[in-house]
Amino acid sequence: MTATSTERNAQGVMEFIDPVFTLSDVAVSYSDFLAVSNVNLQIPSMDVTAFIGPSGCGKSTILRSLNRTNDLIPGAKVHGKISYHEADLYDPKASAVEVRRRIGMVFQKPNPFPKSIYENIAFGPKVNGRPSKSELDVIVEKSLRSAALWDEVKDRLNDSALSLSGGQQQRLCIARSLAVDPEVILMDEPCSALDPIATARIEDLMIELKRDYTIVIVTHNMQQAARVSSYTAFFVTEVNPLGDRRTGKLVEFDSTSKMFSNPTDPRTEAYVTGKMG
């Protein structure tokens, strides 16, 4: 059930029915450096939303603020308001641990733990409860199946995760994040370290997963954004009027088909047609 709505509010922000995230005037700074500012957007449920834009435009920064991964960087601060459904993500009463359990993340480079394949998947369920061995077996199999990795690894679950190929490792990381039953999966350039064949498999997987999960993906690869996402946000970097550092800014957010065929902003058009980057 895709949330389809093209309503726009007074600020011109595209509004969805029951969006997963609502960002209002969001800015992120690191100590005295403003990385990205003035972001207003909503992210629909059970769909794939892509963030694109040139390096340094703040798309990863915004992504990382969606599950409070930025909290881990000293000096990082999120301004404005990010709502997850109706709840304020940065409410003092909100727990970052709980936020991250609900909103999983897959990183740029595959980062399996130096443990067995089985233990990688079991880690999340184990810290989040006390599942029995048989419950764990079920979770591990289900997660690996969902990540289209089960058939390749079912006979060697006790091998080290580091023995897998890069593409398999990344699918393992996706399976690992599925194992704690999140609602959202954030993916930060998940294919940038992979070859084209492995990339294609991950893209297929994303399309598969959006039936059950909300996916937000940051990518440098515009074809990828066009292939997998329904909505696309385009960011640029601008010279900050307050200093000489550059600050990221959201230019345009719309359905992917519109963004790639008939964007409103000339900068978007320049970027998607390859004139700028």
Partner: protein
């Protein structure tokens, strides 16, 4: 910058890439510099050779002379007739080293985890130098503290077993522990801090708490560095001389009661060395016999520890 023009003018026909006179001079200078440096490098090899050649001959000579039992219970090589039962030195060394590890491992690893995963940048910037200061406290000062504060203040008053004589293995063990704590902390912190941040973020992204990330992911990923830290600290404790000599005394008592005075292999060397043994005397050769054991044991542990560290670096750097 005149180098460039010279390079042009001095070039003979068909030899554009041949070195100019000036470059040849520079190359000559470089070769002198490199050879001087080679000699410097040679010095390090000489030191090791020197250690080995100073240890082996007296050790072998003495081994030929020893007629009493080597694994006996009386160590009295400086008496007449000398006795070489090495058991008291072995127990003394191990009792003190093990007590030291009971201090250094938990406190050192706690410090390492605190620094790598709990401390903010600013706290780290303060705490790390303080640990280095602790590492810089001279052994003789720790020995003095052990001898006149720990032994009378703690051991004499509270140690339940036996009669205190002013020296104790437990006092020496505690102070050796303090001495090796910074080694554990710094080597383990290096290893834990080298665990990629991506690994931590993956854990956090699964809803793990800081403690779970630190103990179940970071500690596991850095375990070989942690093991290396313990091994290197062990080797350091094993070779510590002054603290053992001052705090545990110089009586090689065969005992497992940490409240007793004891002698370690290293403190025997220090003790016998003070006595200015004439060359070729039994005492002199005994110093080298015990030194050989000390050298071999620490060598094995250091080799092991350093190998583990370099393996670990290959994985993460």
């Amino acid at each position: 910058m005149s180098d460039l023009s010279k390079a042009g003018t001095s070039t003979a026909e068909g030899a554009w890439l041949a070195p100019s006179a000036h470059l040849r001079r520079r190359n000559f200078f470089q070769s002198i510099a490199v050879n001087v440096m080679r000699i410097g490098t040679l010095v390090t090899a000489l030191i090791t050779t020197g250690i080995i050649f100073s240890l082996i001959p007296p050790t072998i000579e003495l081994l030929g002379e020893i007629t009493t039992q080597v694994f006996g219970t009386t160590w009295a090589p400086l008496f007449l007739p000398p006795e070489f039962g090495i058991l008291p030195l072995i127990t003394g060394t191990f009792v003190i080293v093990i007590i030291a590890m009971f201090i250094a491992i938990p406190f050192g690893l706690a410090a390492a985890l605190f620094l790598s995963d709990y401390a903010s940048f600013n706290v780290r910037r303060v705490v790390k130098p303080i640990l280095e200061i602790l590492a810089g406290i001279p052994t003789v000062v720790l020995g003095l503290f052990g001898l006149y504060v720990i032994n009378p203040g703690l051991v004499e008053k509270y140690w339940p077993i036996g009669e205190s004589v002013g020296y104790s293995a437990i006092g020496a063990g505690l102070m050796t522990g303090v001495l090796t704590l910074p080694i554990v902390a710094s080597v383990a912190d290096d290893a834990l801090s080298a665990v990629p941040r991506a690994m931590r973020e993956a854990g956090f992204a699964l809803g793990a708490t800081r403690r779970e990330v630190a103990t179940k992911i970071v500690f596991n990923a850095g375990i070989s560095g942690v093991v290396a830290a313990v091994i290197l600290a062990f080797a350091r404790a094993f070779g510590e001389t002054t603290v053992a000599l001052m705090v545990a005394g110089s009586y090689p008592k065969l005992s497992l009661n940490p409240g007793d005075p004891m002698q370690t292999m290293a403190s025997f060397i220090g003790f016998a060395g003070i006595g200015d043994q004439p060359t070729d005397s039994t005492g002199y050769k005994t110093i080298f016999l015990v030194g050989s054991i000390l050298f071999l044991v620490t060598l094995v542990f250091n080799l092991l520890g350093n190998r583990i560290i370099s393996r670990f670096r290959e994985v993460y750097e």
